[in-house]
Symmetry: C3
């Protein structure tokens, strides 16, 4: 999001250049790629194929959500480079999939998908202005807030019907070490962790997502796998349930944190890689904490842990003299 | 609230001009009017009559609360135009009614009313300074935070006794469509929605409040009714319980959002009216979400949905090129 | 924390002056003193003795936590005056004790203590940059957030085992007046309230802590006792349970608020003392509210009430013309 969306700046009058169908499709594919911070159309295409390998319906939702939020950004005349690079699409992609995962696929839910995807662009515009105070991007916070709003509302609005995947509201209780972690847990959990970024639990999808990352950047691909492994191992060491480790639910936030800090926001180097390692360890703890904190209201933690940890480590980065923040051109 | 209340600005020494009884009474009436964003003494007077038609006790509380918070502002030497226009009174009015609705009317509760109304002015001063960073006013957030503090404390302090109206702490569950919406639901719900801004559930009070709005501004009156209708219809469409729709609980936040955005903060026009329509629809969803989110701690959502949606739409407004924010003189 | 830690400032290259063992030990003792806002090595030493009088294990944890967070600050090259004055140690001291109070003393918990104490310095660095926007220090917020993260995570990570002192997650219910307050309640509660700042419930420890405060500053000592008395009396008046009053749980936040506003952040005077009195009364209410608000997720309120009330009263202070904020050199 550019400075143009700030609440305090005057808006320059910009003539709207026309968008060709091809240019728009390119922006949509890049928008899907940006869910994992990749400004790369082929990565986006492979991500769509990865989702479709697990669920064609969700692949359709991801494309639709990205298209709607990107079109909203075009209509609002958000600066062209941001739209072109897919920066106005990734929250729409995630909102669309999340609504279809956690709400019954009624006509009303599809209407909500359209409304929420368009709304995610507006929320992104509002948050970008707010967060400029602290010099950090909104990341996927607009997706989390928009989705939570719909999920919470199911408790008051009877026609918004949750699926069995939406956690029931419960009081958190102390966990016990549960299940035996085997090589299968680790091997499948590794790729499930990558696939869970798009709400998929599928080794094949995870492999395709990773492939898409390597097509865009070997560093991003390696960081994703490393993030998933670290998240999984730390969760195992601290006594997480085997089913959760296997499903990759302790992986996806670490994957995003690793890619974001390791290849997008910090200038790479050995000090940066140590910092990323630390961040992925912290992410596991924060993911567990966020999940428990929202349990009494029956919400999933989504990617809030990724957002919180990335913000924290961006704010703290200047204290570490060996770290350098990447320039604004690299930031999502 | 003016810049004078900021935590960072030096305070100029201002000679205290004396306040006549009449000028103070005028400021109090305007303060009650400002609960619906009206800087108009006749609107304030009609609002008091409207409350009294339903409950003389609450009318007394509203006047007392506004008088105390306005007097506190005078004592703190808040800039005279803000005090004169009632901008330091409306949070006190709402705190006073809320405490008497949700706490038993003991002597201690009345002492709390005095303390909380004075405190609301201090909280407003503190929040005004904070929110200047983001260029938005505190709206009724000081009322919500102050009231919540007392309601939560009832769980630890036995002499703060809640009434049966304070929601019991419960885990939110998925709602089912409940009850049949009839013309009575819609007709009465429309005016109950306006009356609920002052915690009243009464068609007569609702009509008097609307009359007060029309006396001050035909636009504000029309927007209030439109906001109430939209909130009610969207809630109905999404499957809210008939009793809630009838009682106007899905109306009052939409009423406030419509008045605030449609007649106070945005320069009117057809684009602004479409934006207001969108905001009132979003408000219904946010009202349901906030209500569910605070259910495990046993709180009512109060006007937090109004505050959140108004902030969001003010921050996002610059992204919409056809919208213009009203100048600072129009802002509450 | 100095401006050097801000996320937006460029970092000057500072040559690392070597730290002698004595200078480091001095910084650690001052760090323990800073838990009660005292930049005084003798106060810190007496605080360690006070903790040890009640529990040698916790005294060890406090020293270890302070040493680790101070060492982290040295390694990060935080500006020397901040480190020397103990400003990078007090959150580490509190995190270390809190983790050992609320988690079983396993090897893993001790590893968490080391990790969390070091992390508290990083969180402090990040928050200092954020809060500069509002011109307030982070106080003990880094301790609260870091500790809460571990406590919440016990619901997902089976090897993080809570002790019986961690509150079970429950829905808050309206309190009833419970137990009879006697002279013993008041006399012992007074000193327990001071001791609870360091999680101790012991009159002897409370006396030693108070002694340490008087050694550093008669004003701080008097304010601590006054804060504890006010917190206790207000809680009694509002109907808190006798066991809670006796244990000092309504005292420690008021103690910290009284010391912070009365001797650190405001220029003393009779107007400042009235303001401090008001703040300690508000603290009792906020302490009750925060405790109830986090009950459904099974957390203790820790010193969050102190942080919130101190911020609120610092933001509101400029509205009171007879108050003067102390210069930046006096701020923690």
């Amino acid at each position: 999001m550019s400075a143009r969306l700030s609440a305090t700046d005057p808006l320059p009058v910009v003539p709207r250049a026309p968008w060709s169908v091809l240019a728009f499709a390119d922006a949509v594919l890049r928008g899907i790629g940006q869910v994992m911070l990749q400004n790369n159309r082929y990565a986006g295409l492979l991500f769509v194929i990865a989702i479709a390998s697990s669920s064609p319906l969700f692949a359709l939702a991801a494309v639709l959500g990205t298209a709607i939020s990107t079109a909203t950004a075009v209509w609002l005349a958000v600066d062209r480079p941001s739209v072109r690079d897919g920066l106005c699409g990734f929250n729409g992609a995630l909102v669309a999939i999340a609504l279809l995962v956690f709400l019954q696929p009624t006509a009303l839910t599809w209407a909500c998908v359209v409304f929420a995807a368009a709304g995610s662009t507006v929320v992104t515009a509002a948050m970008s202005g707010m967060l400029k105070t602290w010099n950090v991007p909104p990341l996927t916070a607009p997706f989390v807030l928009t989705s939570w709003c719909f999920f919470l509302a199911t408790a008051r609005l009877g026609r918004l019907e949750p699926t069995g995947l939406l956690p029931a509201a419960m009081l958190p209780r102390a966990a016990t070490v549960d299940g035996v972690v085997t090589l299968v847990t680790v091997g499948e959990g590794l790729f499930n962790g990558v696939a869970q970024v798009f709400f998929q639990q599928s080794v094949i999808a995870g492999v395709l997502f990773t492939l898409g990352l390597f097509v865009s950047s070997w560093r991003a691909g390696a960081l994703a796998l490393a993030g998933s492994v670290v998240g999984l191992l730390v969760a195992w060491w601290l006594g997480a349930a085997e089913t959760a480790i296997h499903a990759g639910v302790f992986g996806f936030n670490s994957v995003l944190v690793a890619i974001a800090l390791g290849s997008a926001f910090l200038v790479p180097g050995w000090a940066a890689m140590l910092y990323v390692l630390l961040a992925t360890v912290v992410t596991t703890l924060v993911a567990a904490a966020v999940s428990a904190a929202v349990q009494p209201v029956g919400l999933p933690g989504l990617t809030l842990p990724f957002v919180l940890v990335t913000w924290l480590f961006l704010w703290a980065a200047p204290a570490f003299r060996r770290l350098r923040l990447a320039g604004p051109d690299d930031q999502a």
